[in-house]
């Protein structure tokens, strides 16, 4: 889906985001027949009371209407099909899908058995909780790192650097955004993971304080595959998305507002914190959710770096784990060999859960945007 952010009609950034509902695109369907053509054709004044559509126009209008509903139809189709596929899993697993943590396809050699009228391999049990935890925690790491870095990078590009350099850095952000996720995955496996596990994480683990929350940094550091590496790679993947959006946002902060803050004797940091960021705060939230959506749904890189361990909760921040998206892609092959189709059905239900999660992230962002714009202002207003 395409999300177009238009701020005060002056400038817009177009970024594509999976499952983004903040600003759904739409084809403008207002007033398709404007009558000018008729005036020329019919050689009489256009009636302001009635709109007369010649046949061709009517067809065009209906075709455009159809096109404008296409994205919605596609979404409904996907959700419907996914739900249909997931039905057997929903029937068998029930609430257990959301409360248990085993992820076992069962024995594919034994004869299938039937529960609630659904055939499935004996011993099959699917509980999605660890995958939800994995998905949320990798995305959380990514967002916590990416948002401040992106804001900082965008501010520096817009305000501090000479025009040429900032143009070049902006371009390189866009190039970074275009790097395929499998390349990020390779880099994570071959470079970042080993580097972290050899040089960084043992040190952190040794010196982290053993107090609640921070003790997630203690314990065995593993071989470099797992939660932390996945989160870091994800953050790198979403920084270009968030930073380039923020760059466009900060460009729209009026110089007059910034100068007002400087004239009061504020430091550069205070100018950024009191003027720049509040000025575009709702846009920053939107940008962050775009990034979050990407992180939640990112598949290939995480499948390569996470260690693909299902069925257990990560013990600390270095643990191997998996996410919903990564599990779907790495297990689909073997799931297709399940003659009862129950495994595939469970993966489909997992897909539904992922869809619901990105939807909730978007709704949460809407809520935040509303709260923020209550005290501050929409971007570009005022001066």
């Amino acid at each position: 889906m395409q999300a177009t952010w238009v701020f005060d009609g002056r400038s817009s950034t177009t970024v594509s985001a999976p499952g983004d509902v903040l600003a759904p695109s739409r084809i403008d369907e207002r007033d398709s027949g404007n009558g000018v053509g008729q005036f020329a054709r019919n050689d009489r004044p256009m009636s302001i009371l009635k709109k007369v559509f010649p046949k061709g126009d009517t067809l065009l209008v209906w075709f455009c209407k159809f096109l404008s509903y296409l994205p919605l139809l596609a979404l409904l189709g996907i959700v419907g099909e996914l739900f249909f596929q997931a039905l057997p899993s929903i029937k068998v697993s029930g609430f257990g899908f959301f409360t248990t943590s085993d992820w076992k396809p069962g024995s594919s050699y034994a004869n299938p058995i039937s529960t609630s009228g659904v055939m499935h391999p004996p011993g099959a049990h699917f509980g999605i909780v660890p995958l939800i935890v994995g998905t949320i925690s990798t995305s959380l790491i990514a967002i916590v790192i990416a948002v401040p870095v992106s804001i900082g990078a965008a501010i520096i590009i817009v305000e501090k650097l000479p025009a040429k350099l900032s143009g070049f850095l902006g371009l390189s952000l866009e190039v970074l955004a275009g790097v395929p996720s499998v390349v990020f995955g390779l880099w994570g496996v071959l470079v970042l993971g080993p580097f972290l596990s050899h040089h960084i994480t043992p040190f952190i683990s040794k010196h982290a304080p053993n107090v609640p929350v921070l003790n997630i940094f203690k314990g065995p550091t593993g071989a470099g595959e797992g939660l932390l590496t996945s989160g870091l790679v994800l953050s790198l993947m979403i920084i270009p998305i968030i930073a380039s959006t923020c760059r466009e946002l900060f460009r729209q902060v009026p110089v007059t507002a910034r100068e007002g803050a400087r004239a009061l004797g504020m430091t550069d940091y205070e100018v950024v914190r009191k003027v720049d960021i509040p000025w575009v705060s709702s846009g920053i939230i939107g940008a962050s959710v775009l990034g979050l959506g990407r992180a939640l749904g990112e598949t290939m890189a995480v499948a390569m770096i996470s260690g693909s361990v299902t069925g257990t909760f990560p013990a600390n921040i270095y643990s191997t784990m998996s996410t919903i998206a990564a599990t779907i892609v790495s297990q689909l092959d073997s799931a297709l060999t399940d003659s009862t189709n129950f495994f595939v059905s469970s993966l489909a239900e997992a897909g539904l859960v992922l869809l619901a999660m990105s939807l909730m992230a978007n709704l949460f962002a809407r809520f935040l945007v509303k709260r923020v714009s209550g005290t501050a202002l929409p971007v570009g207003r005022g001066v």
Binding site: T256, A257, E259, G260, A263, L264, G265, M266, T267, K274
Partner: protein, 282 residues
Amino acid sequence: MTQSLASDITTGPNQGDFDYSQKRIDDASSQLQVPLKTIDLSVGFSHSTILNEISLSFPKGTITALVGPTGCGKSTFLRTLNRMNDHVRGFWHKGSVVLDDVNIYDKSVDPLVLRRNVGMVFQRPNPFPMSIKDNVVSGVKAHKLAKRKDLLAIAESQLKEVGLYDAIADRMDDSPFRLSGGQQQLLCLARALAVGPEVLLLDEPTASLDPVSTSSVESLISALVPKLTIVIVTHNLAQARRIAQHAAFFFNGELVEHGLAAQVLEDPEHETTAQFVTGRMG
């Protein structure tokens, strides 16, 4: 209220070196104190020179109007007085700007403290994206001039001082962007006053306002002297005549004439000034 700009130089009232003697000034004002003056100040950006050797004094507790055709360098001059041009690429200056015996471009001067003492209000109201109350005390907070619990009282008293309080008493936590342009400009004045400046620089503060708002801003400015020393750039000669005691006429980066407002604006010595003040020149 007056804060030492440079810790190693003592500041104090500066008697007697205000030199208008050749400008037919009456005896009373020859003893004026001068908190702010420029000495042979030349300013430019990169290769261009915008202002040429300007020496101008701003007598304490008075309003000085800077007038001149568009593009003659009034804003640039004003922004040099609180180092706002420091941020502009290619900015250079020669000569000095002296505030309370200290050259503000001296290495020992902290521009942030300087801007607290020399406040500035711009042509267009520029409230910050925060509540009205937070706008007023934003500078106070940034400089840690008051305790958190006193902020509301400060905001209220500043808004009362600019005459805005009654209109917005129940909207202190609302966005400033819903105020009218004139109210926004009064808010910006309140914000600038809240940090307790001794000099206030105004760059065409009423240029974007309607006549009613203009007159309320004007009466506020007039009420701020003699507590503050005010320098106002205005393209509105009637306004200069209404509120200013002193005036300076700039033309093409040169200071052509300065002195008492009545003299410069009504009975100028120079032909260019006369052309300008009689409306024969833009």
